[in-house]
Structures are given as C-alpha cells and as structure tokens.
C-alpha cells in the first residue's frame, strides 16, 4: 500500500514538474517571438521536413479512414434506406473530426517523435549548451522554427487528409456499393459547408501548436544518455497524443457552442 501511494505521489509530482516545464517553455516562446526575428530559412526547412515529407502518410491514412468509414456507414444507412445520406455524413465527419484527428495522431507519431529525439540527442551531446555558449537562444533557434513550421503545415496536411478521405469514401460508395453519384455529391455539398472545413482547420492549427510544443519540451528536458532520449521520445508521443484527444474534445464543444 505504501509502495503504491509512493508511486502515485511520485507520478503526480513528475506530472506537476512537466506542467511547470511546459509553462516555462510557453513563456520562453512568447519572449523569443518578442525579442528575436523569425528565422524563416529554418522554418522553410522544417516545413519541407515536417509538412511535405509527411504528405504521403497523411494522404494514405486519410484515404483509408474515409474509405472504411464510408463502408461502415453504408452498411447501416442502406438497411434504413438512407443511402443518400452517406455522402454528407462522410464529408461532415472527415471535415470536423476524422481528418484533423487522424492527421494529428500521425503527425504526433512521425514528427513529434522526431522532434523529441533530435532535440534530446542535441541536449545529451551538449549541442544545446554549445548554442547557449555561442550566445544563441535555444528556444529561438530550435523551438520557434519547429513550432511555426508545424502550425503552418498542419492546416495544409489536414486539408489533404479531408480531401482524400472524402474522395476515398466516394470511391467506395459510388463505384463499389452502387450509391447514386448525383445524390452523393449533391447532398455532400448541401450539408457540408465552409464552416465544417473551418472547424477542421482551426483544430489543425491548435494540434500543430500542441504537438510541437510538447515534443520540444520533452526533448529539451530529456534525461541523460540513450535511455533518457528514448524515454523522452516515448513521453513526447504519449503526452502529445493524449493532449490532442483531450484538446479535440474541448475544442469541439467550444466551437459548437460558439457557432450555435
């Protein structure tokens, strides 16, 4: 019992420490944006690495989810004689939920892991201290370009995810399941609007911010050696994934309340 309580207390204090370190990084980000010009050359490099190179995986997962979702919806909607409603449901779900969240999870896994490993390795090999010794502010040089790159890339990636998800849903329902294309397209356009795409894009920007900041924080505060870097990477991916899902829940309610 004492052992359990000790472990619980230890985890709680570790969580508090992480929260403190995260808050410290956020303050540092705003300070850095205030005092230093943005390094657009580094931002563009990161956009290529995080955004352009992530495109295939985002397109593939978006398309797969769209296709599977459409197939499942078709199964029930056709029983109820509501086949004409499949298109709008797929489009609505892809824009508001599936597109942003699946893309966010893939980016947290692919890019988030890479950010925390890279910064963690830099920290353990004293490269972060070397930056400081050369009068370079690590947040300005390491965090801001990654943050901006992901905040800029995420809406574009989510747009691709949504587009290919809807397209894959169409390919499943119309040519394969025999749904009438005119109804599918007409109803999709009728019941899905710019507002729904907007919700997805707002979420994508917030997800980009959450993933980049959590993974940078974990990388810059990683422990010693290879074990420390490995642990930080695991924590970064797990924390950003959970944060993404929790944020998604609250953003959904806030945006729905605001739009209604």
């Amino acid at each position: 019992m004492i052992g359990f309580l000790r472990k619980l207390g230890g985890n709680f204090f570790r969580f508090l420490r992480h929260c403190g370190q995260y808050a410290h990084l956020l303050i540092d980000i705003f300070r850095s944006l205030r005092y230093f010009p943005i390094r657009w050359n580094l931002v563009s490099q990161q956009i290529v690495y995080m955004g352009v190179n992530s495109l295939p995986v985002v397109v593939l997962t978006g398309a797969c989810i769209g296709a599977v979702f459409a197939a499942q919806i078709h199964l029930k909607f056709s029983e109820l004689g509501m086949s004409s409603g499949i298109g709008p449901v797929v489009a609505y779900a892809m824009c508001r939920e599936l597109g942003p969240i699946i893309c966010g999870l893939m980016i947290a896994a692919r890019v988030g892991a890479s950010i925390s490993t890279e910064l963690g390795s830099m920290k353990t090999s004293e490269q972060v201290d070397a930056l400081r010794s050369m009068a370079v502010y690590p947040t300005d040089y390491l965090v801001i370009p990654r943050l901006l790159a992901l905040v800029i890339s995420m809406p574009l990636l989510v747009s691709f995810s949504i587009f290919f998800g809807i397209a894959a849903g169409y390919m499943i329902c119309v040519p394969l399941m025999g749904v009438e294309p005119a109804y599918y397209i007409h109803n999709s356009l009728r019941f899905t609007g710019a507002q729904d795409v907007g919700v997805g894009l707002i979420k994508s920007v917030i997800f980009g911010f959450v993933i980049s900041t959590i993974c940078c924080e974990r990388g810059l505060n990683c422990g010693h050696g290879a074990q420390g870097v490995g642990k930080a990477t695991t924590e970064a991916v797990v924390s950003s994934t959970i944060a993404l899902l929790v944020c998604n829940f609250f953003i959904t309610f806030l945006l729905n309340a605001w739009m209604n």
Partner: protein, 248 residues
C-alpha cells in the same frame, strides 16, 4: 577578469562545489585539475553562465552573472568561447558551417569575410580545406580541433576548455596542447582549462588550481605544484591512489 566568490552548488542532493573563491586576471591561462566527477566542468559551466550557483557570485569584467536571464547573458557570452568535452559539433552541419555558425549568428560580417575567417580558423588548427566534411567523418582529435576553431572564430576575450585532451592518444594530446599555446600567443586571450592530465596542465598553465572536495585545495604555478609536499597534491601530481584493492 573573472571572479568566483564563495560558489556553492549541489546537484541531485550531492554538494559539488563547497565555496570556491578564485580570481583569474586578464591574459592568464589557468588550469583547473582534480579527480573525475570532482566538479571541474561544473565550475566551468558557472563561468559561462550555463549553470547558476546556489550561493555565491560569478563576476565577468565586474558584472555579476548571478540572477541574469538567458537574454541578459547573450551580450556577455559574445565575449566568451567554449570547447566542449566531446566537441559538441552540430552533426547536421559541415565542418565549415560549424565554424561559421557563431559568425553568422553575430550577423556583422559578409559571407565572403566569414568564408575567409573559417579558412583561417581551420588553418590555425591544422585542418585546412576540411570545410565540406561532416563531423561524423572526423576522428576525436579532429573534432576537438574543429570545435576549437569554432570557439576561436569570433576571437573571444575568454576561452574555456573542458577536457581538451581527454580520450586522445599522447601524440594528439600534445598537438592540442601546442595548439592551445599557439592560440594563446596569437589571439592573446584569457584561458580556463579543465583537465586531469598533469602533463597538459604543466605545459599550458600559468597557474594551476587543484579542486578537491568541492574547494580549491591548491593554487600555484606548475613549478610550485610539482614541488608541493601536500599529500593530496603529491598524490594527484604523481597519480598515486589512496584506495587499497581488496584481495582474498
């Protein structure tokens, strides 16, 4: 130039520095020696402002670094350079880009001037024409030389060396020592060198400080340390362990 006053530092509940008092005048090469894990690198990091003491003051040209933020430390760090134990070269950049990095960050020189300085700095450390190599392609000694070129490219007033010869064979170690002496003559900087290599210490140091149990136990010239009869100094200089090996 640098004053350390009553510096105390505890790391992970373990007191590492227990009241360091040290004055380093301009132009001097001070060597800090001591056993591994004795707090030498921690002391160096305090001088650079990479660590802040729990108690005490670090003064650089009369300015107290204690309590300064990272932003406030930036102009002070422009006057310093540091050679890290493992080089700490940016592994995503070439040798040339590594050496040019502090100059580009300073933003005061044109690309042509930077290129010229990089060539000169690499020439000074006997690595001419190696600009396009990646750090992963270099040996340990070469990495330290590149790191030295990077640290001196901006011609800082103060250069800090963290174990410049550790892990190197005696011949390469000797060449690094000669390089430090050469840079000292050429650039006329103040140097603080952390090492546990007595040969190096005596070759390059104007004064040597022995760190023992978190305090400066001895401070004197290389001749004074060699002739010291203090048992701790004597054992360190002559490499005699005070621990006995358990035998059956």
């Amino acid at each position: 130039m640098i004053s350390l006053r009553n510096i105390h530092k505890t790391l992970n509940g373990q007191p590492v520095l227990r009241g360091i008092d040290l004055e380093i005048p301009r132009g001097e090469t001070l060597v800090i020696i001591g056993r591994s894990g004795g707090g030498k690198s921690v002391m160096l990091r305090h001088i650079m402002g990479l660590m802040m003491p729990d108690k005490g003051e670090v003064l650089f040209e009369g300015q107290n670094l204690m309590g300064l933020s990272e932003l406030q430390l930036i102009p002070i760090r422009h006057q310093m350079g540091m050679l890290f134990q493992n080089g700490a070269l940016f592994d995503s950049m070439t040798v040339g880009e590594n050496v040019a990095f502090p100059l580009r960050e300073e933003g005061k020189k044109s690309e042509a001037e930077i290129s010229q300085i990089v060539s000169e700095a690499l020439g000074l450390v006997n690595l001419p024409g190696q600009e396009s190599k990646m750090p992963a392609e270099l040996s340990g000694g070469m990495r330290k030389r590149v790191s030295l070129a990077r640290a001196t490219a901006r011609k800082p007033k103060l250069l800090l060396y963290d174990e410049p010869t550790s892990g190197l064979d005696p011949v390469v170690s000797d060449s690094i020592n000669k390089l430090i002496l050469h840079l000292d003559e050429t650039l006329n900087m103040t140097n603080v060198v952390v090492t546990h290599d007595m040969k190096s210490a005596c070759e390059i140091g104007d004064r040597i400080a022995l760190l023992h149990h978190g305090k400066i136990h001895f401070l004197g010239t290389p001749e004074e340390i060699k002739s010291s009869q203090d048992p701790i100094v004597y054992r360190f200089v002559n490499g005699i362990s005070d621990e006995s090996v358990a035998t059956e």
